[in-house]
Symmetry: C2
Subunit: 216 residues, 2 copies
DNA sequence: TTATTCTAATAACAGTGTTAAGTGAAAGAA
DNA sequence: TTCTTTCACTTAACACTGTTATTAGAATAA
């Protein structure tokens, strides 16, 4: 074998090995995140513990620190999934129709739907650890309230189209956000608010909000 | 000294002693609650610890268990103060005027005022441990959502008076509750919502809600 | 004075997040 | 192949947490 053959082969082998190791690392990382998500959803925020996650995947507790800075970092990563899905669903709703009013209604319904379908995520994202919302992580450009900007944009378009009365885009968006967040919070906060009651409240709230902001 | 003199005196002494001890017990209990409230407001729910409370009042951690069942029981007691003040302020607002519309507005403003003035209490009462809201304690007749019934009653009167359009009292109340709760939540959730912005959002939200439910 | 009651403290258990030190196998260089 | 280095992982330990069982000691009752 000539030199020009063996040398590249060694290089290829080394590279392949490195890749393999890297992939295994990513796999374990994913395994941790999956186990964490599972346990978090099962047991709730307060009972969620790193040692339990470690036990569940068959590693020592300290191993987690090779893949995540600390407990918050892992939780943050778990919630990323929630934030991404949340943003996607709002975006889809915003693009579902061109009619400004229908657009706003679609966003509201998408918001409600996410919150009511993912109470575990929602609770941590917006009620228990709302700091996750604003504080961006180490390498991240912007925090995860991008969804809020979608709402503001659609509200602005609705005002320009004459569907909503003229006024502050920010205040209107805040008010609409408050309504849907309030409904989801009520639904999550206890058994007193059964699904049927929440459905009625959601329906009434959306109509109320639109009639209240609509051009008279 | 005759028998008829000494016997009642011993009785009186015994009774006084018992009373004194009872009072001292109540004083220590209050001291615990005060220290707990202080530390809870200073450090927040997550950092709040029994051992810190004990340290602060100069007793052993286990002494607290002579006065409270567990950590939740103490926290519950601390929050009682919050729930009572909350209910009182809503009640005052409801009695401040006879005009149905003004009444509703007053309640809404009172709600917002409580939440924005007592974010620490509000957060625990309605966001982090909303189970406190619904689950009544051992010796208690009803849970602490009595304030909700005030709202429902006033909403009912407003409908009858023709101020609000006819519809479900429960749904209307839920929708109004959702609005104010949403605003307070936004205000608490992060520095992104500065006081001025919250004020504008609160103003807009209340008007929106009333225009949205008002008789057209 | 003796016996009882009751408050408080000590010690301990089981659990938590987190850090520092060590171990053993795989990878790289000679 | 042999030696060295890198690196994933574990063990041990620290400083906490809530909570329970046991014990000491003082105030009260007999």
């Amino acid at each position: 074998m000539s030199e020009s053959d063996t040398k590249p082969r060694q290089l290829r082998l080394r590279q392949a090995s490195r890749q393999r190791r890297e992939q295994q690392k990513q796999e374990l990382r994913s395994e941790i995140v999956e186990a964490a998500a599972k346990l978090f959803l099962e047991q709730g925020y307060e009972r969620f513990s790193l040692r339990q996650v470690a036990e569940h995947i068959g590693y020592s507790p300290t191993t987690i620190y090779l893949y995540f800075e600390d407990k918050d970092d892992l939780l943050f990563t778990v919630l990323d999934d929630g934030f991404i899905r949340f943003g996607q669903q709002l975006l889809e709703a915003a693009q579902s129709t061109a009619d400004p009013k229908e657009r706003l209604l679609a966003i509201g319904r998408a918001y409600l739907n996410f919150g009511l379908s993912n109470p575990g995520y929602y609770q941590l994202m917006f009620m228990q650890r709302s700091d996750f919302l604003h504080n961006s992580r180490k390498g991240e450009a912007r925090p995860r309230i991008a969804a809020f900007e979608i709402l503001q944009q659609v509200v602005g378009e609705a005002i320009e189209a004459g569907v909503l009365r003229s006024g502050g885009v920010e205040s209107y968006s805040d008010a609409l956000w408050a309504v849907v967040h309030g409904i989801v919070s009520l639904a999550i906060s206890g058994p007193k608010f059964d699904p049927a009651r929440v459905q009625r409240a959601a329906q009434v709230s959306l109509l109320m909000a639109f009639d209240g902001l609509a051009q008279p």
